[in-house]
Amino acid sequence: MRPIDIAMESVKKKLSELSDIVAEISINLVNKNWEPDYYRFKAEEALKLRDEIRKMTTEVIARFQPTASDLSNLMLFYETSYGLYRFSRYALDVARSISIVSPQGCSLENSWRAIQSAITLVKLSIRILSAYPTIESTSLADALSYAESLEKDVDDTLSTSLKKASTVADPCLTSDLLSVVFLERIADHSIYIIRSILSNY
């Protein structure tokens, strides 16, 4: 292996550690764990990993002068790490906004719908990331269209939630809207990850 390959392997490893944290957070959201302290703790771990990836990327560029595919891969890992970190922060925001009203017994049906779609999209994006670069571009294109449908779903949920919250002043609806907003951000970051991977082909 070239020296740069050894370094890129360590970056990829850190990235998959970050993906594992994202996967763990996703499971908790789907299992309706709204405890903010848990998400805060996980977000700090994610931040640490993101910082390490940033340091490693700088070092790889300084030491190995990557070009062409090495450089695009490195930049992909770097940008993806940001998206994955942001997911952990938004997950914290979702948990916070839901945990405040959950004792009041709100229905939070929009949040719940958005969570389903967004988390499916997140899981799809980290699966594609771990399969990179061995995944075929045709299956990737299929995945992208599925991802777009999930994203559209979250967008529609956001519109619905907006309409509802703009007509009635209800703490449940407000909190519902807030978490859907954050979930939309999550979906946006995830689909950006998939699009960046596709653009490397």
Binding site: M1, P3, E59, R63
Partner: protein, 253 residues
């Protein structure tokens, strides 16, 4: 840190001119340690003082202490040949003995030092050395061909095998890829990174990019002194010394 090489306050002058001025350095075990710097900074002299090849030059005076694996290199009781068995060397211009066969070139060190007793042992030693130098597959069917028939990159790997056959603790490399084409150089860089499992590699290069690619630690030399030394990642992202920064970014040298 377990250091295999310790250099303490080394002053070297050749023909009255002071080349090394108070060099202090510790080289850890089983790493690739690069020494980079502009021409004339004393890198080659430092390297040659480690295995006492400096003795061959006229008018050399050496002050200070060098310990290699605990052996005091410049002690008057130490036999220079002893030191040279601990330390192998690879040069800028690949230099196998041309009219000797590939096998005989690798076997030269063990034969000179009577390291093995039987032909079978020697065959094994030669094979292992060539395997470690990533050359075995290319020459296994033509071991008795003269070494001059190999390409430049192959000859350099042969020289590495020749040094490795002595099972040294430290391998000194003086700009080993300066005279090779990029493909051959890349192969040797990959090899160097593998070698650190068995030996400590001390690599001198004026090419800071090569130092950044293959080394774990790097020292920057200027005008006979070590200006900065540390982990390669550290030095190449946040060097402390201004001159180091200038050299790495190509602003002089």
């Amino acid at each position: 840190m377990d250091s295999v090489v310790q250099i303490r306050d080394l002053w070297v002058s050749i023909g009255g001119r002071s080349i090394l001025r108070g060099v202090n350095l510790e080289i850890p075990r089983n790493v690739v340690f690069a020494i980079m710097g502009p021409s004339g900074s004393g890198k080659s002299t430092l390297l040659r003082s480690l295995n006492r090849i400096l003795d061959l030059y006229e008018g050399v005076s050496v002050k200070g202490q060098i310990l290699i694996d605990g052996v005091d290199v410049y002690n008057s009781k130490t036999d220079p040949s002893e030191v040279r068995r601990l330390v192998g060397m690879v040069f800028q211009i690949p230099n196998p003995i041309p009219n000797m066969s590939i096998y005989d070139n690798v076997a030269l060190g063990p034969r000179i030092n009577k390291l093995v007793r039987s032909r079978w042992e020697l065959d094994n030693l030669v094979k292992r050395a060539l395997e470690k130098a990533y050359l075995w597959d290319e020459v296994k069917d033509r071991l008795h061909l003269p070494a001059s028939k190999l390409s430049g990159g192959q000859q350099q790997r042969l020289c590495i095998a020749r040094a490795l056959a002595m099972k040294p603790k430290v391998l000194l490399m003086d700009e080993p890829t300066s005279n090779l084409d990029p493909v051959a150089s890349a192969k040797i860089e990959e090899l160097i990174v593998e070698l650190k499992r068995d030996v400590t590699v001390v690599l001198v290069t004026h090419n800071s990019f090569q130092a950044s690619r293959v080394s774990d630690y790097v020292a920057f030399m200027y005008d006979g002194q070590i200006l900065e030394v540390g982990l390669t990642g550290q030095i190449f992202t946040r060097p402390k010394n201004k001159l180091t920064e200038k050299y790495i970014t190509g602003r002089f040298g």
